[in-house]
């Protein structure tokens, strides 16, 4: 058996699971998006854009903003872990940053529901420090809560990937640049970040698509309008049994997510040529 055939044979079972349990239902839902009362048409999409254009924009803005913040935070954390010269401070940060990494999204939703609410711990602490009065407190359980929850949960994961890639870099160029008088910030953005750009992009893309498909966080934090597409899909199915519009919303999310996955494919192809 040639190595090529053997390779395909070994990958096939795993691919079959994806094909049968994901691609097939995905096609079923894509077909369903164009089905109105048994015949094909654009009805579901006109209804979707009439009702949910605001939520589509809301979702894109929230997820993009969260991705940008996650990227900045991970570069900052990874950079400090690589360049920080106080070993005590570095190990404190190493200890601190990863706590939220494996906390399930549904738990994150519940945590933020109590922490960010009007009488949550964040407001209570600000009140007891004298920064505001109890009457000034506002609930952060809207778009800010969702962004906070996403950044809180996803940053450790991306930072772990980025810090790992930074740690395996060749230290010589970094030391050389430092010896020539380059500031740490300059070393970080001109020498380190370009070399870990692929890892950073992979981490951010994984985060982007994960955030696009999380249902529990928007349901727990902000279920009123405008809300995220996942909450709309659940609502369409649970409240109306309207699978057509739900499938159309799903297809729109797929287009948004796959445009990001396309970037990954282009980067990985460019690397190999």
């Amino acid at each position: 058996m040639s190595r090529r055939l053997l390779g395909l044979f070994l990958v096939l079972p795993a691919l079959a699971v994806i094909a049968l349990l994901f691609i097939l239902p995905l096609i079923m839902s894509a077909v369903g998006a164009f089905q109105v009362d048994g015949s094909f048409g654009w009805g579901n999409f006109t209804k979707t854009f009439d009702l949910y254009t605001k939520d589509i924009i809301f979702t894109v803005v929230i997820v993009s903003l969260s991705t940008a913040l996650i990227g900045l935070a991970s570069i900052a954390i990874g950079g400090y872990l690589t360049l920080g010269n106080n070993p005590v401070a570095v190990s404190i940060l190493r200890f601190l940053y990863r706590w939220p990494m494996f906390i399930p999204f549904i738990v994150v939703g519940q945590l933020m529901r109590t922490f960010l609410s009007k009488n949550g711990m964040m407001n209570n602490t600000a009140v007891s420090l004298g920064l505001m009065t109890p009457l000034d407190t506002v609930s952060f359980l809207d778009w800010r809560g969702i962004v906070f929850a996403f950044v809180w949960k996803q940053t450790p994961f991306v930072a772990l990937l980025v810090a790992g890639a930074m740690a395996s870099l060749n230290r010589d160029t970094i030391e050389a640049a430092r010896n020539l008088g380059a500031s740490k910030l300059r070393v970080l953005f001109e020498i380190i970040v370009p070399q870990v750009a692929v890892t950073l992009t992979v981490g951010l893309i994984l985060s982007f698509v994960t955030m696009m498909s999380v249902l529990s966080v928007p349901l727990m934090i902000n279920a009123q309008t405008p809300t995220m597409l996942t909450a709309d899909i659940a609502f369409r199915v649970n409240a109306y049994g309207d699978y057509g519009v739900a499938n159309a919303l799903g297809l729109i999310s797929l287009v948004l997510a796959s445009s990001v996955a396309w970037i990954y494919l282009r980067i990985s192809l460019k690397e190999r040529t």
Binding site: R4, L8, A14, I18, L21, N86, F102, Q110, L111, L219
Partner: protein, 274 residues
């Protein structure tokens, strides 16, 4: 001069202390707030701390009719089975992707990302329809299969990275002294990749524990899982029981967080997704 320099470097602890303090508050604050809720009897606006503490909610959760024990058992059984199935699929696939020349390698890697790339809700609705017809809906194997499709991206990507981080010369050496390909894989490659594979098992386990949408459509109401219990109690406004369920889901996550770097080394990490 050295005394002055020491003083200056000590001064750096002021900005560091402020930043680490804020970081610690925003990381541990939500967790501490949840812990308070698990032992709260009475707490309302505008009080900073609960007015009465007690364990009555714990008794309610662990009462035979509370449902938490059944959900906990189901969640653990499903997660362990998911790990077993996912690794059985990911080890051969990861090896092939790391070592053998495959056509369209990038596309194959990307295929495993698909379940993470699509709001899985509509997909799970359609899976539930298929499973209903073949009698898998509302069964543990049905939920396990859904979780496997969801967790395979971690299993395959990390397994691929773990295998490609191994020096091919070690395998070559084993082959040169007469070991067959299977023996080489079993005695050389697999033990060397074991820490990475362990890490991928951890990711799959946690993904399964975390999974909410698929369990809801395929499992409920016959197979109750912890995330489902958390959601129903939280939307019912019972912060105490929701927080206790959240704590049950949290403990394994935090334990794994503390040990994961023992398994996931930098050389493996830098190869994830490549």
């Amino acid at each position: 001069m050295t005394a002055l320099r020491n003083n200056l470097s000590a001064l750096w602890w002021v900005p560091r202390g402020i930043i680490f303090g804020l970081l610690a508050f925003f990381i541990f604050g939500p967790l501490f707030n949840m812990l308070l809720w698990t032992v709260t009897e009475k707490w309302y606006f505008p009080h900073t701390f609960p007015l009465e503490y007690g364990f009555s909610s714990w008794e309610k959760v662990f009462a035979p009719r509370g449902g938490a024990l059944e959900s906990l058992g189901n969640s653990l059984v499903v997660a362990l089975l998911t790990v077993a199935v996912a690794l059985a699929l990911a080890i051969p696939a990861g090896y092939a992707l790391a070592r053998l020349k495959l056509p369209l390698r990038g596309v194959i890697l990307l295929a495993f990302l698909i379940p993470q790339a699509f709001p899985n809700l509509t997909v799970y609705v359609n899976i539930a329809r298929i499973f209903y017809e073949i009698g898998l809906n509302g069964t543990i194997p049905g939920v396990v299969l859904v979780h496997v499709s969801h967790g395979l991206v971690y299993a395959v990507w990390i397994a691929t990275a773990a295998f490609s981080a191994i020096d091919p010369e070690l395998e070559q050496a084993a082959r040169n002294i007469g070991a067959g390909p299977l023996r080489t894989f079993r005695d050389v490659t697999l033990p060397l990749a074991a820490p990475g594979l362990m890490a991928s098992a951890i990711f799959v386990f946690l993904e399964s524990l975390d999974e909410f949408t698929g369990s809801f459509f395929v499992g409920a109401p016959d197979v109750n899982m912890l995330p489902l219990l958390l959601y129903t109690t939280a939307s019912g406004g019972n912060y105490q029981i929701a927080s206790i369920t959240a704590l049950l889901l949290l403990v394994p996550s935090l334990v794994f967080m503390l040990v994961v770097e023992r398994f996931l080394k930098a050389d493996v990490l830098s190869r994830v997704g490549q």
